[in-house]
Subunit: 245 residues, 2 copies
Amino acid sequence: MSDSVRRLIGVLGGMGPMATIDFMAKVVALTPASCDQEHLPLIVHQVPQIPDRTRAIMAGSDAPLAPMLAGLRTLARAGAEFAVIPCNTAHHWYAQLSQLQQLPLLHIAEAVRQELIFRELHGKQVALMATRGTHLAGVYSGRLGPGFEPLLGGGQDVQQLVDVSIAAVKAGKLAQATHAAVEAADRLLSAGAEVLILGCTELPVALANTAIQSRCIDSTLALARLCVKEGMRHDTEARRLTLEH
Amino acid sequence: MSDSVRRLIGVLGGMGPMATIDFMAKVVALTPASCDQEHLPLIVHQVPQIPDRTRAIMAGSDAPLAPMLAGLRTLARAGAEFAVIPCNTAHHWYAQLSQLQQLPLLHIAEAVRQELIFRELHGKQVALMATRGTHLAGVYSGRLGPGFEPLLGGGQDVQQLVDVSIAAVKAGKLAQATHAAVEAADRLLSAGAEVLILGCTELPVALANTAIQSRCIDSTLALARLCVKEGMRHDTEARRLTLEH
């Protein structure tokens, strides 16, 4: 190991705060390191004052875009070489975020696509657990490959449970979050889903240490795995294959 | 709540990475918030390539100083209003770090002093579990008030267990870390200590979810509590009373 192969990773976080912390813990866990100095360097913009993403999408507003751009520019000035956003809903603005500032951005749905391949889940019936904003914006639409379409999303009752769970994580009410997420997951599995994509980074926090994790693709873990891969490589040509612009 | 009362907090982290994540989780847990936007904003310099602090102290070297100063300057440029360092050993350089850059710095031993008062532990026999660097540098010397001196530190056998535990957390070997830290804590309690100061931010990670936590003052939790207090106040005069320069 030498320092030169570890690239400084920008994390546009705070959406929400616990999800960012969960992401960072997964980066550490996935990094082969025997001492501090072998871990990956991150600059983390944990500024949760960015306006609610789902509310903006539902209202047709771009209110979160400017503060997210400002955050990415701060990360670039701090020396970040590429950036990740551990929030699925924020990826509604992925194209603009990529075009309007200089840092290359990993895409969380691309990370999930790679995780589905890594876990050899081709051909399984997948369901997407996500915010209303992520569903409405189609953050995952067309990004997982033909073997994984269409995504079963569940009805309004499932969505309400998912909404409750996500809000509870953000409010620090973990028991409530877990209860609602397990109930939503059970209903999706009963309805025929074989694999659940946790397509909101609060959901892995809600479902941590539950048995249902084994049926899930964790978008936070997927993004962390891709991030570690990108953070430890320095072959520019190969990097272009996974980084999107 | 309004955004204006939340000050942007700089975190000079990465020493080590899991300790920083533990610190961030404690900040989130201690912040009264019902949604993302009510949480405290942080900029986190999670760059673990800073040279080993204990090794530098033992060798009489200031090798960690320049990269720590660079990190604090990056945090200042990113807009941080004050900073914290969730690493006890790094506080050997507290005076220089305060003098050679502009950000006011909270002191982790001052946070522990306040935590001892908060927990009403005056008069108890305290023992300090810390790195050899923290002991040698006297990071806690004279900082806890007369009621808490002298600090019982344990002998070489205890220190070896503490060293093993800290290194194991940094290497991701949590079971080993827990085993060694519990053994060290048991020996200190058997030797007459009534309260154990976890004066290295890896130790609360090692002892998470163990019964021995109830006998401990967690320096990470103490720093998080002081950080939340400082992050949510905007009375400049009152702030001067707890911020040191």
